[in-house]
């Protein structure tokens, strides 16, 4: 049988040689990783120290740390369709989180008498938590084509 159209590339497992990210994507991953590091450190301290003082606020801190870690990992592996969708979910959750928590911290400050990563829309981190999900979504939208179907098996 003669060779006809080239076979499509075999789906690569998410763990082996993901398609390389462009440079801007790497910078985005680094910023997410730094936010993950900062949020994890801060929520660790808050929960160890003062959980009873503001359990809602500190639970949200821990949740935000988990979201940043997940977003970082999902962006790193985003060449795979499954991780791409996880990245979408994590970043949308992050965006909703910073908007909701930011608003609540202004309208119901009694819930947030101790600051968290998303309080005041991330003002404690120079508003990076507010801008970052938009950059993440932009990157995901700009790179939505040509994904492998890794992890489908």
């Amino acid at each position: 049988m003669p060779e006809t159209a080239p076979t499509p590339p075999a789906p690569s497992a998410a763990s082996s040689s993901p398609r390389r990210m462009t440079g801007v994507g790497r910078v985005l991953v680094v910023v997410y990783a730094i936010m993950a590091l900062g949020a994890t450190g801060r929520s660790f301290v808050q929960i160890v120290r003062e959980f009873d003082d503001a359990p809602v606020a500190y639970s949200l801190s821990a949740l935000s740390a988990l979201v940043y870690i997940l977003a970082t990992l999902a962006l790193i592996f985003s060449a795979s369709e499954r991780w791409y969708r996880v990245a979408w979910a994590a970043i949308v959750f992050e965006l909703v989180g910073v908007l909701v928590v930011g608003t609540l911290s202004l309208t119901h400050p009694e819930l947030f008498n101790h600051p968290t990563v998303w309080s005041g829309y991330g003002i404690g981190y120079v508003l990076i938590p507010l801008v970052l999900p938009f950059l993440g979504l932009w990157w995901l939208i700009a790179h939505r084509r040509g994904r492998t179907t890794g992890g489908a098996a």
Binding site: V24, V31, G41, F44
Partner: protein, 122 residues
């Protein structure tokens, strides 16, 4: 923390951040200059560690949460080596930009540490 040293540390980190970001966006790969800025920041952070250990014993205690302060400081110390390792593995212009991002992150962390040490009430 010592006020003038904090200013120096934040200033060096911001200048390094700006320098590496501009060099990287201009297409320069990691060089002695850009990696050197990370080394300088690391040296200053190590000095900050020493200051932070000694200061409470000589009448300069933190007003805020010491655990939170040290979590920030340890995180900050980890960043320059990680950035340099990344830059040496992946010698592209974006690695230079990433070193700039790392330097800016350290500047913000040192700022937070200063707030914890001088303003925040534990």
């Amino acid at each position: 923390m010592i006020a003038w040293f904090t200013v120096v540390l934040i200033a060096v980190a911001c200048i390094a951040g700006l320098l590496c970001t501009v060099l990287g966006l201009a297409g320069r790969r990691p060089s002695d200059l850009s990696v050197g800025t990370q080394a300088l920041i690391l040296v200053l952070l190590v000095v900050q560690v020493v200051i932070s250990i000694i200061a409470p014993f000589v009448g300069n205690p933190p007003s805020g949460d010491l655990l939170e302060f040290w979590v920030y400081l340890v995180s900050a110390v980890l960043i320059p080596p990680a950035a340099v390792i990344w830059a040496l593995i992946e010698r592209s212009r974006w690695s230079t930009v990433i070193m700039g991002v790392a330097a800016f992150a350290i500047a913000i962390m040192v700022w937070r540490m200063n707030v914890i040490w001088t303003i925040q009430v534990a």
